[in-house]
């Protein structure tokens, strides 16, 4: 694992690290709808990459297609060099991919503890205790809510639980879908800090989908812009943030 500088500052972009996720000329969709067309994207080990775009651009579909549901219509997906195209979802997840999905999808009638244990389902070497400890360190709130049912948590707590649950399997690649959606700014900050810390301290590779382009591009080493199912721009996060097209389209534009 490439050594990351300790401390809260974002780790330097690991420019030469080997690829964790490679997507080549991917097309996918649901039924008659083609949601993604000829998408190519790469995430290197230890990198935070963000995918920004408007509602309905195909961001969530891309994350779900990486997880094998829906299956790609054409193109290739490789995880750490191994081809995972067309494999069943559970098999892909067991190879070290975890997702905190759109809408969080907490199991409402399970306790916080059971939700976390579900996340450890694809943990290859048995003991979930250290992973659970890590989730508590990141989000102390989860420990306080341990025996509460998932459905009774607040939105922010559910988001923390969704990320904590995804981390339980010790993933190599973490997929995050709109973690800021519907949350108060303070909670959003807490969650983004946690992502930054995870990446810096453990070298976790993250692919982050966000509508909040400002936050996401500040956090990420690199970013991609998805418009109507196609990648239209890519580059280092802060460089994208400076581009006028991005400012106009995703950051409220105008005079600022």
């Amino acid at each position: 694992m490439s050594a990351a500088a300790p401390g809260p500052a974002p780790a330097p972009p690991p420019g030469t690290a080997p690829a964790m996720l490679e997507i080549e000329a991917l097309s996918a969709g649901y039924g008659a709808v083609q949601a993604l067309t000829d998408v190519s994207l790469q995430v290197r080990q230890g990198e935070i990459v963000t995918l920004i775009g408007a509602n309905g651009a195909g961001k969530s579909t891309l994350l779900m297609t990486i997880c094998g549901d829906p299956k790609p219509r054409s193109g290739r997906i490789r995880l750490a060099g191994e081809d995972i195209t067309g494999q069943p979802t559970h098999a892909i997840m067991r190879r070290g991919v975890a997702q905190s999905p759109e809408g969080r999808r907490i199991f409402p009638r399970m306790t916080v503890q059971e939700n976390l244990l579900m996340g450890a389902e694809s943990l290859v070497q048995g003991d979930p205790a250290p992973q659970m400890q890590q989730a508590f360190t990141l989000f102390p709130r989860l420990r306080e809510r341990l025996s509460q049912r998932g459905g009774t948590l607040s939105g922010g707590e559910q988001q923390m639980l969704a990320i904590g649950r995804a981390l339980m399997s010790k993933p190599r690649l973490l997929l995050l879908d709109e973690p800021s959606l519907g949350l108060a700014p303070l909670v959003v900050k807490q969650i983004f800090d946690a992502i930054r810390k995870l990446n810096a301290e453990t070298g976790l590779t993250v692919l982050l989908v966000e509508q909040n382009a400002n936050l996401a591009l500040r956090l990420a080493h690199r970013g991609y812009v998805l418009v109507n199912g196609r990648i239209t721009m890519e580059g280092p996060g802060r460089a994208l943030l400076a581009r006028p097209e991005i400012r106009d389209a995703y950051l409220g534009g105008g005079h600022g």
Binding site: D69, H90, M93, R105, F107, P108, R109, M110, M118, R165
Partner: protein
Amino acid sequence: MAYAMQQLINGISLGMIYGLIAVGYTMVYGIIGMINFAHGDVFMIGAFIALITLLLLQMGGLMDGPAAILLVLLVSMVITALYGWSVERVAYRPLRGSFRLAPLISAIGISIVLQNYVQVSQGARPKPIENLLPGGIEVMRDGPFVVQFSYIQMLIIALTLGVLAAFTLLVTRTPLGRAMRACEQDRKMASLLGIDTDRTISLTFVIGAALAAVAGSMYLLRYGVIDFYIGFLAGVKAFTAAVLGGIGSLPGAVLGGLLIGLIETFWSAYFSVQYKDVAAFSILVLTLIFLPTGLLGRQEVEKV
């Protein structure tokens, strides 16, 4: 008084059998949202396998004592579970993701197939057996009327309670049970956590069929006569029990089973035996109209 007492005993032991079948309906409904209308016939298969095993043991001269009953039960559970697995594999899995009515129709198809298969292979004549566990204990006596708690009824009640306790532990305490509940609450999320949801669904059918096999074997021992058609009526009554208890709720299925057993028994005892099925099915209609979520069913309010 003594008469009512006897009816209570009869009603509970009948209700236990319905409860065991109802658990199978409610489990499958919980996990894939469909009513497995072939489940009653899986119960009938369980009874027939118990019968065949019993006859084989008798031919071998090995037929006495509780050990034999236990063996009959185990064989029936294993083979019936295999039937349950096959039914799901053949008739439901290929239709997953199809429109909602499709698996319901294939369930009815499988039900007809199983009935006709048993009718052709085993004959249409009812199959009687002798009572394997005659006798019982005398609970009370009122003049000439003796209230009896037969050994078979005791066996049914004890066995059902034991099986249900084991089953409850399985669902609440084991990783498989957790996976089953996860699939029930959000199947897509379960697969995103690395759970093979097809396998979990298969295992649900296997467990439901094994419970139905226990019910089928108990039915055979208690009533001593079975035919290829018993699955229909018992199945629809157990379905009624599941709806009454709240479809999707496991304790509800057992409670509903007990209530249906008691209602049917008391109705037969005090009103009319001919109309006992009418009584049971009126409950179904009344529940659906006035209490659609059942006694222990969940109201569909969840925080998003």
